[in-house]
Subunit: 225 residues, 2 copies
DNA sequence: CCAAAAGTGTTATCTGTACACCCATGA
DNA sequence: TCATGGGTGTACAGATAACACTTTTGG
């Protein structure tokens, strides 16, 4: 009975919505194992570095992004003994939700980092599982927190916010009831006063994210709320 | 820039209800650091051992309990660089919810393990924080899962189940509306046919836990539901 | 009998849902 | 003018909350 020599990594599930599709930031692996396969960005935790710090640093190095531009939270820790063929590696996964940034992969090794739709990807290690857990967490959090706004630019319309829910939940929501719920939920969104015409039709009001941390009442993904 | 030598431990937040109070299982530390202070049970992850496995083994060694007798889930991972004076130690915390077992600390080093009310304890390392996170997780889960039943014996009355909610949430619930909600929620509890008189008054029906994994509708901790 | 706990019925109120309808724009 | 999307009103169904009331025991 010996305590093992363990390496600790952090991995990031970075989600955004681009072209109306939920996408995840992936890195093409340049070394074995899983050479050439797609994987979540991440890497080893350094001396004296907190876990969040390590996650933010890795992301910045690999992609130039700052996960704190949106929402950032710990997801879970994965430590099956055989999850990495190189030896005992435990990984602490973080979930980040970001708006669709103009230059999402600048500053890093852009050639090997790219946003990809979350459906149908096949990833190295146990990253498929980690990604699935991250998506499920994001889905659940949209119900009872105002987090959907972090997928939007600083000013957005109710229809754009609704599109976030419809994309992440894969449902259709009634535009009229959704409008009422969102504008009625205390602290969810605040009108900026501006209006904008996105397509055709009547101009939409612009909103910014409000101060609430929890939604009362929550939005429910079951029906056409 | 060097990757650090990291040790990985598992710690357990083990909650139960004894004497009408939410209690946590604590170990009195027999070695430095924090010699003599109370701490969450836990220890180092061994070679080839999965994290859950490590958590279950540590608990069994230290207390003779099996966390899988109730509910068991990963809580979070804590990795601040200075959280352990001996060096870099990252801990993966697990949350377990157990019924009030007849002989809760048998089989282990019982002299140094004991159940204690969660209020007012002062723990070694960052275990106060971990405990607080565990309690909050438990509170939240009672709302939308049937997990409250794991605090009860195999057969229980509606009043006993209500006492669980009242204890964990620190609220009073209306016995009549609570009864209806619990017996009405699909798959939450199933009648065994038996009855029992706990105190005085009309005999209560006995129930066992039902097959549901989620509550529809959820119980809300805000009001007198 | 009374007190106490279990359990049922009833009603006012609130929330969610569906959908009719009006508003403001581009073409 | 029409099509399109933004936004409001309203009515019905279901859930919630408050509480009167009956049932079944022990003392």
């Amino acid at each position: 009975m010996t305590t093992s020599v363990v390496s600790v990594t952090v991995d990031l599930v970075l989600l955004t919505i681009r072209q109306g599709v939920l996408q995840v930031l992936l890195i093409r692996r340049g070394i074995e194992p899983y050479l050439g396969k797609w994987a979540l960005p991440g890497g080893f935790v350094l001396d004296g570095e907190d876990l969040e710090e390590a996650a933010a640093r890795e992301l910045s190095e690999e992609t130039g992004l700052d996960p704190r531009a949106g929402h950032f939270e710990q997801l879970a820790t994965y430590g099956a003994p055989d999850r990495d063929p190189r030896g005992r590696v435990i990984t602490v996964a973080y979930l980040a939700l970001l708006p669709d940034l103009p230059s999402p992969v600048a500053g890093g090794d852009a050639a090997s980092a790219s946003w990809q739709p979350v459906d149908g990807v096949e990833l190295a290690f146990d990253h498929d599982r980690i990604l699935a857990d991250g998506i499920e967490r994001a889905r659940a959090k949209l119900e009872y927190t105002p987090l959907a706004t972090v997928f939007c630019p600083p000013e957005f319309t109710v229809a754009e916010l609704r599109a976030v829910y419809e994309t992440v939940w894969r449902t259709r929501l009634d535009p009229r009831n959704f409008h009422r719920k969102v504008t009625g939920a205390e602290g969810f969104v605040e009108p900026t006063g501006g209006t904008v015409i996105r397509d055709r039709g009547r101009p939409a009001q612009l909103y910014r994210r409000g101060p609430a941390a929890l939604l009362h009442p929550p939005l429910l993904r079951s029906t056409s709320g």
